[in-house]
């Protein structure tokens, strides 16, 4: 399973409680769409650690890294190079 499939699957299952792929596009902003709130972002960070062994530093907790499927995938790929 690709990084994108894993990330999409997690967001859909954990925050949208569905497996309907049409409910989330890879560009959707989690904040603007209200998918993830401030406590939810901690869940995403746990997920990155557990699934990809990616440790998120304080200065990396920015929307550019975490606020969409595309951003998360790019962030994971950068951190696991």
């Amino acid at each position: 399973m690709s990084v994108e499939e894993k990330v999409r699957g997690y967001i859909l299952d954990n925050f949208l409680f569905t497996d309907d792929q049409s409910e989330l596009s890879s560009e959707d902003s989690f904040m603007e769409k209200g998918i993830i709130d401030s406590s939810g972002i901690l869940e995403v960070i746990f997920f990155l650690g557990e699934e990809f062994k990616v440790q998120v530093e304080d200065d990396e907790m920015v929307p550019e890294n975490l606020d969409s499927v595309n951003n998360l995938v790019a962030f994971v790929e950068k951190k696991t190079k």
Binding site: D13, N14, L16, F17, T18, D19, M31, G34, I36, D37, S38, S39, G40, I41, L42, E43, F46, D58, M61, V62, P63, D67
Partner: protein, 640 residues
């Protein structure tokens, strides 16, 4: 408190029997276990379940005037009844009881429908004028005492609780989907809606008249705030504090009037500490207090309670609430609330009233209302910071003030996310509901779980329509006052005084009394400038100034802790879940009742079982879904 019920024919000619009224009153036994009474005449029937508090011997209701042309069934208390009775006697009225209830019929004779403006109290009233064949229903100014009604087959049916209406209705009860949509946004349906289709509440401060086959409603009171700076009181802050103290002393004293012993809730917070101090210093009533504590140390306030008990020398009883207590009592609580809830907090409040009842007390004073009237909630502070931030939305420093409000927030971590949450509507700070938008949008995420059928029925977003319920003058009010109004009318009126207030108290036949909600205090406080209510970010500043001399400094300066009870952990633990939770959250039951998407709920439960459901949304969603399922099971599926 008591329970009232009645039926009044509008166009029906069906006779109203005492048996039918008794079926209604029997459903209200918990509100009034000390006796029942009925008045039946052509086209009208009034019923009453009595909780004896004043005039234990001759206070049986319904009560009438001198020539039995005016009858009343009454739930509540008229705290200024002694003064009113003296005035009415001087005008020649003859009393046959020493109750507070009897002043109502004589006041009506004197002032007609205007009688209600003379009352200082908490009440739901059903009054019948035999000469005019006229029914008057009235509810108190802020909504302490409930009153519901339904029009059916040419009759108006009314009662203190909906279950009494369900006892005689010929229509099968069903959910009002718009009301559930509102509840899952604002924590309660918007008045007059209830979650039952075609059953309404009489709104706080409202009077309903049924005469000549026509029903008319009017508002006799509402929260009003200055529309310009010069309408605020010009008195200095010291004088304002003195006046507030004077009003609080009187509001408390008249709420100690009773022919049975009166106790008080003591949470350890500022408001209950103020109240218990006032009782201690300004009355001869022995100080008897009650509190609840939690196993979870994060939610527990026992240390502050102990400090106040020591300070005042109170005779105190406390009860510890465990997670399993909440799960074990949740179904019963929903029978009392008659409404889904988003938090489990009403359950411990019911356990607390149970403790009061066991100690043979029927009446307690509580500090509820102080936060709304005198500016205590975090949401007011939060809005103030967001307003300040909105003046310079690009500022990186202004949102740091949020840390003053939520010290546990680590703004160095995930700052963008926190700023996004609190920055909601920051581009539109003049929005009337600016203060409440973050809360409402967060709560509304619960609706993601609605089934496609439910979503299809809901055309409009609840938030978009809320402005229809606001007074036209609101746009001229100070932003702080707007948030006070919204809080008082939505969360306080719709949830805190109902599910977490009256229903939790009356589930054990205990009457709550609310000195901070004395209308004289509200009217005074509404003319106090917001800068005196919240000085910079110091909440309830005027109250602290007025009462600090009576309280330990640690209570005055303590960090304000919201009352919370465990939510998800109450129902899911390493020991498993209660059988009813399994049954009502099963895919089959979720699909059968039809309100929620069974697959999404299943995924939420899996997430909970993985120990990953930690956020507000997950907690509120689970409690909201479970309580809706219980509500349906209790009132729709098993309604007999």
């Amino acid at each position: 408190m008591c329970g009232i019920a009645g039926i009044c024919n509008i166009s029906s000619s069906e006779s109203i029997t005492e048996q039918k009224l008794a079926a209604m009153i029997d459903m209200l036994y918990h509100r009034g276990p000390d006796g029942k009474g009925f008045y039946v005449s052509q086209g009208i029937g009034l019923g009453h379940a009595r909780l004896s508090i004043i005039d234990l011997d001759t206070g049986k209701q319904p009560i009438h005037n001198e020539d039995k042309t005016v009858w009343v069934t009454f739930n509540g208390e008229i705290f200024n009844y002694i003064e009113l009775r003296d005035e009415l006697r001087k005008k020649g009225h003859k009393f046959y009881t020493t109750t507070d209830t009897e002043v109502i019929v004589h006041l009506y004779e004197e002032y007609g429908d205007g009688f209600v403006s003379h009352l200082n109290g908490q009440f739901a009233i059903g009054l019948w004028d035999t000469k005019r064949k006229k029914l008057v229903l009235v509810r108190d100014r802020v909504g302490i005492v409930p009153l519901f009604y339904k029009q059916e087959a040419g009759s108006l049916i009314f009662a203190s609780e909906i279950k009494a209406i369900l006892a005689v209705t010929n229509e099968k009860p069903r959910l009002n989907p718009y009301a559930l949509d509102q509840l899952m946004t604002f924590w309660s349906p918007v008045s007059p809606n209830t979650v039952f289709q075609d059953i309404y509440e009489l709104s706080p401060g409202q009077l309903l008249v049924l005469e000549n086959g026509k029903i008319s409603k009017s508002n006799y009171w509402d929260w009003q705030f200055p529309e310009s700076e010069d309408e605020y009181s010009s008195a200095g802050v010291d004088d304002l504090a003195d006046k507030l103290h004077e009003l609080l002393v009187d509001a408390t004293k008249i709420r100690l009037r009773s022919d049975v012993p009166v106790g008080a809730y003591l949470s350890g917070g500022l408001d209950s500490s103020v109240l218990t101090s006032l009782i201690h210093h300004y009355s001869d009533v022995p100080l008897r207090t009650f509190s609840i504590g939690f196993e979870d140390a994060k939610l527990d306030e026992s240390s502050y309670q102990k400090e106040m008990i020591k300070h005042l020398g109170a005779d105190h009883s406390t009860i510890k609430c465990s997670n399993s207590d909440i799960a074990d009592n949740f179904q019963k609580t929903i029978w009392h609330t008659e409404s889904p809830v988003l938090r489990t907090a009403p359950v411990p409040m019911s356990l607390l009233s149970g403790l009061v009842h066991k100690q043979n007390y029927k009446v307690v004073l509580t500090g509820e209302g102080s936060d709304e009237v005198l500016g205590g909630y975090d949401i007011f502070k939060e809005a103030k910071i967001r307003q300040f931030w909105a003046r310079n939305p690009q500022s990186k420093f202004r949102p740091i003030l949020l840390k003053r409000l939520y010290p546990y927030l680590d703004l160095s971590k995930g700052q963008a996310y926190l700023q996004n949450f609190f920055g909601t509507a920051i581009q539109t700070p003049d929005l009337l509901w600016f203060s409440h938008l973050p809360r409402w949008e967060t709560t509304a995420r619960c609706k993601d779980f609605f089934s496609s059928d439910m979503k299809a029925q809901l055309n409009n977003d609840a938030i978009d329509r809320i402005a229809e319920t606001f007074p036209s003058s609101m746009s001229n009010w100070h932003a702080f006052n707007r948030s006070q109004y919204i809080e008082a009318k939505s969360l306080m009126g719709g949830y805190l005084l109902c599910s977490q207030g009256d229903r939790a108290l009356m589930s054990n036949s205990v009457e709550g009394r609310f000195p901070f909600l004395d209308h004289r205090i509200i009217e005074f406080a509404n003319r106090v400038h917001p800068k005196h209510k919240m000085k910079v970010l110091n909440e309830k500043y005027l109250l602290k100034k007025a009462e600090s001399r009576y309280l330990p400094k640690s209570i005055i300066n303590r960090y304000k802790q919201p009352y919370r009870a465990p939510d998800i952990p109450a129902f899911f633990s390493s020991k498993g879940s209660p059988e009813y939770v399994h049954a009502l959250l099963s895919k089959e039951k979720i699909a059968d009742y039809g309100y929620f998407d069974a697959n999404r709920v299943e995924r939420l439960i899996k997430k909970i079982n993985r120990g990953m459901a930690i956020g507000y949304k997950d907690n509120m969603s689970l409690v909201g879904i479970l309580s809706t399922q219980i509500w349906h099971h209790t009132f729709i599926e098993n309604n007999n």
